[in-house]
């Protein structure tokens, strides 16, 4: 069986399992499992976003928690004002997910554009540090913003709504997150296979060569970075609705690190790498977190093993190197 077919089978298996397990939990009335699956789906969406920048474009952003946090705060602030019936910036609050998502993506995309424009002139460790610095600025800004809870965070009393669904029910909210994940994955696959993806990957492999055939690296990378931030921002809005709470911790550098860890565990640049990685991370948190509070030590060892012996992550381990045609 060739690697491409293996990867598609593995992808189908992952997509099927992420659907079947919560389906079983719903039938067996185990809402906690459904919530775990929802968390995996939402983390995976955030990591799909980062996978565009990191996996396709080779841009190691150590500040993607910034966009996750922006999405989270958009959901939180909109719900807060809708609940209190007060306006925000002259607009009414809303408890509808669709406009919340649109604003979250717009804002995180804009900010990614600014951060990208300022940081994409650098590379390597400097790029990592600048993206981290911007995320830390966001972190400390929300920390010192008393109007929306400051360091205590902002609760969302009622989960925001989606037409035709009762999002308060774990199963229906899971379906929503799962649907968004599938759409996001489809978008990633399209981008990767299209001319834009070809240009972005060429720049990652060999910027000088790309320039010599007439591809300007800066513009392509900037657009990739913006798309990446937008998807992670969307995940942030969903994440806030899952926990019904948003706090500066969503923008903490450890969150940025977690997203990178997810991608490395799953497989950098692989379509279902974020899904596999998020499942491993959440799985570790639940199973080893129940046994010992030092579960991150074991996660660290696994990460070390992946980096040393399985550079392609879980997907690479099973399906081999990626095929590009």
């Amino acid at each position: 069986m060739d690697n491409t077919r293996k990867e598609w089978l593995l992808n189908a298996l992952l997509a099927g399992a992420l659907f079947a397990v919560p389906l079983w939990a719903w039938l067996a009335n185990e809402p906690f499992i459904i919530t775990l699956a929802t968390r995996i789906a939402i983390l995976a969406i955030a990591a799909v976003g980062l996978n565009i920048a990191l996996g396709l474009g080779g841009m190691v952003s150590f500040g993607h928690a910034l966009y996750l946090g922006i999405g989270g705060y958009v959901a939180g602030i909109a719900a807060h004002h809708a609940f209190n019936g007060t306006p925000v910036l002259g607009l009414p609050g809303t408890n509808q997910m669709l406009p919340i998502w649109a604003i979250a993506m717009l804002l995180s995309g804009t900010l990614a554009g600014i951060v990208g424009a300022l940081s994409l002139r650098t590379s390597g460790i400097f790029f990592i540090m600048i993206t981290l610095a911007f995320a830390q600025m966001g972190f400390f800004f929300t920390l010192s913003w008393p109007a929306y809870g400051g360091e205590d965070g902002l609760p969302i009393f009622l989960r925001n709504q989606f037409p035709g669904l009762n999002t308060a029910r774990p199963w229906e909210f899971f379906l929503l997150a799962y649907g968004v994940l599938m759409l996001t994955l489809a978008a990633f696959a399209l981008i990767r296979a299209a001319r834009f993806g070809a240009a972005l990957m060429a720049i990652r492999h060999n910027p000088d060569r790309a320039a010599a055939i007439g591809i300007s690296p800066f513009g392509i990378k900037l657009v990739g970075f913006i798309l990446s931030g937008m998807i992670t921002g969307l995940a942030g809005a969903l994440m806030a609705d899952l926990t019904r709470f948003v706090s500066p911790a969503m923008m903490a550098w450890t969150m940025s690190g977690e997203l990178i860890v997810i991608i490395i565990l799953g497989g950098v640049g692989r379509l279902f790498g974020p899904v596999a990685g998020a499942a491993i991370l959440v799985g570790f948190e639940v199973f080893f977190g129940g046994l010992t509070e030092h579960w991150k030590l074991w996660l660290g060892l696994v990460l070390l093993a992946v980096v040393l012996f399985a550079r392609g992550g879980l997907i690479g381990l099973i399906a081999g190197r990626g095929q590009h045609g």
Partner: protein, 249 residues
Amino acid sequence: MADPVLDLRGLSKSFGALKATDDVSLSLRAGEIHALIGPNGAGKSTLMALVSGKTRPDAGSVWLQGQDITPLSTPQRARAGLGRSFQVSSLIPDYSALRNVMLAVQARQGHSYRFLRPVMRDAGLREEARSYLERVGLAPRASVEAAVLSHGERRLLEIALALALRPKCFLFDEPMAGLGASGTADLIPFLRALKADAPILLVEHDMDAVFQLADRISVLVTGRIIASGNAAEIRGNAQVRAVYLGEDA
């Protein structure tokens, strides 16, 4: 006589106290192969970097078909019609030979901001890319990853990439390097035919190939052009024999 296709006018570049390029003027006319030779450290790489736009000159200018392209970046120069090949084959190793060339076709068309249509189903892109592979004789190896191709095949793929840009002039940086005698013998008639498409500025170490191919030869030593002329003139030039060919023998 018509304007030269590529015209370097008084290019200078220093790195600290080192004058890597010292007032170099050189032209490339339609239909010719102009070879640039010189011993190691003569400044050939710096000059190539100045022409391709990787390095900015301290003084002087680069003209392409009567247009001053000195202020342009490397990608802009490529789109303006400068088809460069690299001394060290530097392709996208994970991509097949075909996809590498497709990328060059896509870049030439200037349509890299397309997000929906899969490139592998873009028949126009594929067929055009395949035609360049056919021209360099790599069509049977189209689906092989660049990383797996032999050294000689990668050199040919470099040339196919340059072809795909349909440039106004070619800039070939040691295309014969490491090809071996038979590879070089195959490439010579190919380049001789190619100069009808667009003139070639050829930087090459292989003296036999240069003397067979070049319509004009310029000799670069310590950043300066010390002689310029046809093969017979360069062979007969005492200064060239002393500093360059003498060493070689």
